[in-house]
Amino acid sequence: MSQPTTKPSGPAIEIRDARVRLGDTDVLRGVTMMVPRGRMVALIGPNGSGKTTLLRCLLGLQSLDSGEVRILGEPVGPKVLSRVGYVPQRLQLEPSFTISVREFLSLRRRDTRGWFWQSHRRIDSMLHGTLGELGVESLLDRPLAGLSGGQLQRVLIAYSLLAEPELLLLDEPTAGVDTPGEQSFYELISSIHARLGLTVVLVSHDLAMVFRQATWVYALNGVICCEGHPEEVLNADSLKAAYGIHVTPYHHHHHGPQTGPVEQPIAFKRR
């Protein structure tokens, strides 16, 4: 995959006073944040803090009640979204849907959109450059619905990278992935970020991962409670502001209830 020769200036993401009300709940209550290009940032917060809603706003899937969202210097729309890669939490595929990994990946590139009429060899030659480094070549003939959580996440990353995005958004990408798979997945994201200079936004509840991989952290709970380098944000006071409960870093590995004013340590550990 080639890197853009001239790097555009300006932030990758600008959000000004974004407000979203869903039903009776003010999910986003004036979120303002600016993500410079090239950073690998994490968006953390408890369940119901608005992480996914904010991500949906960035993708144009959720409209704002007020405020403004711009990505890569433009208002969110089909044109700018063509420069964005998105890795959803999971795909809920019906087992009767027989799409193979090769066919799924073909959907992303303009030159393989005629996949139905193209030979496997021709498709593979077009996909080859991106696939080798991600370790998905051996999965091309497998049905997408039959992949393990870790394999599926790699395929989704490959799918996103095939369009050579400038911004990569990942929504809880390791939900349903086992611990070793989780670790290698984040290492993969980290190496992609370092090599291609993409802006990466990870929505995550996995604080240990955030500490290890992200260069900047936003703690969200309806508003941005705090932001900074992981070591600045991931301390008990900041996390209490975001999670509304006492959070003790480096405890046993157990994701307990994360909402409500309960004095209960939620767990994360440094690995």
Binding site: L59, P88, S96, R113, F116, D141, P143
Partner: protein, 277 residues
């Protein structure tokens, strides 16, 4: 052996079956993958109100009222799904039962048409005329053409709607477009298989093809071919066996379905046996 094909009514029936079987098979791949089998069942049952309203409005052949009413029900299903918190199954059950009840009530107002109820419930492909043949082939080319033209967006939409949106696909328009195509195919196929059995033409070919395919391309092509074999074979076998044609098409497909399960099982056993060999 096939002398009965000299009969024009058999020629017309076969031509209609060969037009509708494959496009229903093609559409069915996406219907089943998107868990919309009950959706197509609702549309077909809605046709009863379309038939009765068409008779009441003075139509001799109620194809157009059926198409219009089924489209209305299909759009209402999508609209209610978007605008309410109701579960899909609830919405479909409400529309299905209301349409059947409405159709029966409207038919009861015109007793002279009551005898025609069987024709629409169980299909009457042997009574199609040359205009019906032309319409069936025109619609088959149109539906197949649109499906092939929009194949990549439709596959992406079926995989994940949010990914489709990020990929520049107008998700809502595509959803409505797909449902309208399905409605057109179902409405026309009612003539062949009837309200009660038309869903079998949508669901069985992809289910049969699923057992024999390794990827989506194979699945689509096999489902298309099974649609041809099942619909054509049903028409051809119904005459010498002296059986009603619509149900024979469904039974032919059901037989193929059982065979496909056997083949799948045999192939799996053969694969399992390989490492120890």
């Amino acid at each position: 052996m096939l002398e009965f094909l000299a009969e024009p009514f058999m020629q017309r029936a076969l031509l209609v079956a060969l037009a509708l079987g494959p496009i229903c098979g093609f559409l069915g791949v996406f219907v089943t993958a998107r868990r919309m089998a009950f959706f197509s069942d609702t549309i077909s049952h809605a046709a009863l109100t379309g038939v009765a309203a068409g008779f009441l409005a003075g139509f001799e052949e109620p194809t157009i009222p059926v198409l219009l009413y089924c489209s209305l029900v299909a759009v209402a299903m999508l609209w209610l799904r978007e605008r309410t918190q109701l579960l899909n199954d609830t919405i479909m059950a409400v529309l299905l039962s209301s349409s059947v009840a409405g159709g029966v009530v409207l038919l009861s107002l015109q007793r002279n048409r009551w005898a025609e109820l069987d024709k629409f419930l169980l299909g009457d492909i042997l009574s199609v005329n040359w205009t019906d043949v032309g319409v069936a082939w025109g619609v088959a080319f149109f539906v197949a053409g649109v499906l092939l033209w929009k194949l990549t967006p439709l596959v992406l939409l079926t995989t994940h709607e949010d990914l489709a949106h990020v990929g520049g696909i107008r998700v809502r328009a595509m959803n409505y477009g797909f449902v309208i195509l399905l409605t057109v195919a179902v409405s026309l196929s009612i003539r062949a298989l009837g309200i009660l059995l038309v869903t079998s033409l949508i669901v069985l070919p992809p289910a049969i093809a699923r057992s024999l395919s390794h990827n989506l391309r194979q699945h689509i092509m096999l489902s298309f071919i099974v649609g041809v074999v099942g619909a054509g074979g049903g028409v051809l076998s119904s005459y010498p066996l002296n059986l009603p044609t619509g149900p024979t098409i469904t039974l032919t497909l059901s037989l193929l379905f059982v065979l496909s399960l056997v083949v799948r099982r045999l192939r799996r056993d053969a694969t399992d046996a390989k490492p120890s060999a």
